[in-house]
């Protein structure tokens, strides 16, 4: 899942300054789950902006709101068509992809990002998410016992721990487990330590050309053609 955080209110206020009628659009999927931009956050942000405007006494904005099931699918974006007729800007609480999807869909309307898109993660406990994948395009999880060294090791190194690890924690952050300690222990448990002894050459960063595009295959297993 994609994890994001709301932008500071002041930053959002600065962004909307030039626009009078602002439509705040939430996203019902990832942004709802990580409490950054679902229906609740949309109405919370609208209230906060209105209160701040009333306090400062110099605002002229009017707000409307709507939450889509997903912002990253044009199918859902069609639902916005009759909401945007009279707005000056859209403030999207979708992840960066949502913001761009709206911008592509409505080329004549400015779209503003209402959240800071942070990473792809996993829910650890209520309200806590940990980064688990950087979409590096060259997944190592088979070599590393299902623990990602690219995201979980601060240095993203491939041949074992640096000498900075202490008490099983990372030198960069005493609250974070050293990925390579975790990898070692799990490989040991699986009887696969030989995987750690292997030499892994430098990463091939060409696996992540930008921008990426994935074209789904009809059936990978039977080698079907592109759909």
């Amino acid at each position: 899942m994609i994890i994001a955080q709301p932008k500071p209110l002041e930053e959002t206020r600065r962004m909307i300054t030039p626009y009078q009628r602002v439509l705040i659009v939430g996203c019902g999927t990832c942004m709802t789950v990580c409490d950054a931009g679902g229906e609740h956050e949309v109405s919370y942000l609208r209230n906060a902006l209105q209160v701040a405007q009333a306090r400062s006494g110099n605002g002229t904005h009017t707000f409307s709101e709507y939450t889509l099931k997903r912002q990253c699918d044009s199918e859902f974006l069609n639902l916005l068509a009759d909401k945007v007729g009279d707005v000056d800007a859209i403030l999207s609480l979708g992840c960066g992809i949502g913001v761009q999807a709206i911008a592509e869909h409505f080329p004549d309307i400015p779209v503003l990002p209402g959240v800071n898109t942070s990473f792809m993660g996993m829910a650890k406990e209520w309200g806590v998410w940990d980064e688990r994948c950087a979409a590096c395009g060259d997944c190592r999880l088979e070599e590393t016992a299902g623990i990602c060294p690219i995201t979980r090791c601060t240095k993203g190194i491939l041949n074992g721990p640096c000498a900075g690890t202490k008490n099983g924690k990372c030198e960069a952050n005493k609250d974070a487990d050293c990925a390579w300690v975790l990898i070692y222990k799990r490989l040991e448990r699986l009887g696969q330590l030989d995987k750690m002894r292997r030499y892994y050459p430098p990463r091939n960063f060409r696996t992540i050309p930008r921008p990426k595009r994935l074209v789904s295959k009809v059936n990978i297993n039977t080698g079907g053609d592109n759909g």
């Binding site: 690890t165 030198e171 070692y184 750690m196």
Partner: protein, 300 residues
């Protein structure tokens, strides 16, 4: 064929002594030059740190030029933190062209511990890959497989952490570094000879030289600070107690005494092949340690 004076000594049975200097933050190199002159004849080689603890400094390769010019034997510390594979290779070519052929290959500390916390960390390679890349260059091509015009030759070192609280993965990595081409190791600071002995039992079968890292502690406060803040450093309680009980104002003297004792014991008991003294900012006291330990490098 040996590529450096230091490599020649690695091949002998001499007790090796290296030390290191940290370049200045700025262009005033007078103190560094002073340290080089003070140390160049007392040790077998001098490392120049590479933005140690991720603090921006005068470059390691620049410090090595100075050592070379002044007739000393430099060890270029190279970390993967700030340079991608192009920049690493280019710097190695430069170093070689100026007679700098000893290289200590390190991954490098995180930028988070340094004084430029917002910088983009690179880590295109890790220390094992760096070793291997240099060996590839020596075979005549760059890491991408293109032929080199003029081929360098290096004497390569790496680091290892015998006192890590979870040693097993460190040992795996040590072995990988040996396979990748490391000829000598300068260890992380040693504060307990038991762990060094244990490590040497593991390391002695390998055909590499091990130099035990000796960090000079100037006070109990410094010891505690290092324990809390310096990646990988674990100062034993016994040492902290010894420093705490030192006479007021004699902290550094106690630190010198402790360091000298370690050096002396390591040499007398032949625990490993040499020592690497890290005086972190007090380079001027290195000769005192050597004298107190009755060892000296180059001119014995």
């Amino acid at each position: 064929m040996v590529n450096s004076l230091f490599e020649e000594k690695l091949g002998s049975n001499e007790f090796l002594v290296t030390t290191e200097i940290g370049p200045p933050k700025g262009v005033d190199i007078s103190e560094m030059v002073h340290h080089i002159d003070l140390l160049k004849e007392k040790v077998d080689a001098i490392n120049v740190t590479d933005h140690q603890s991720s603090m921006m400094r005068f470059p390691s390769v620049g410090g090595c030029f100075l050592i070379k010019e002044r007739g000393g034997e430099p060890i270029l510390q190279m970390t993967c933190r700030d340079r991608n594979r192009l920049a690493l290779q280019a710097d190695l070519l430069l170093a070689y062209s100026r007679g700098i052929t000893n290289v200590l290959c390190l991954t490098g500390d995180c930028v988070d511990v340094g004084d430029h916390k917002e910088a983009k960390p690179v880590f295109d390679l890790d220390s094992v890959q760096l070793l291997k890349m240099i060996r590839t260059m020596e075979s005549g091509t760059d890491v991408a497989g293109n032929a080199l015009k003029g081929v360098p030759k290096f004497c390569l070192g790496a680091s290892v952490h015998p006192e890590a609280d979870f040693i097993d993965p460190q040992l795996v990595k040590f072995e990988k570094k040996v396979t990748a081409g490391a000829q000598f190791f300068q260890t992380q600071g040693i504060f307990d000879l038991v762990s060094l002995r244990r490590f040497m039992q593991f390391a002695s079968p390998f055909n590499v030289k091990i130099l035990a890292g000796i960090i000079v502690l100037a006070s109990a406060r410094m010891a505690r600070y290092m324990n809390d803040n310096v990646p990988g450093i674990i100062v034993s309680q016994a040492i902290i107690d010894e420093l705490t009980n030192a006479e007021k104002g004699k902290g550094l003297q106690k630190g010198i005494e402790i360091a000298a004792r370690f050096v002396k014991t390591i040499k007398e008991e032949k625990l490993c092949h040499g020592v690497h003294i890290m005086a972190v900012g007090s380079e001027r006291i290195v000769p005192d340690i050597l004298e107190a330990a009755q060892v000296s490098g180059a001119h014995r």
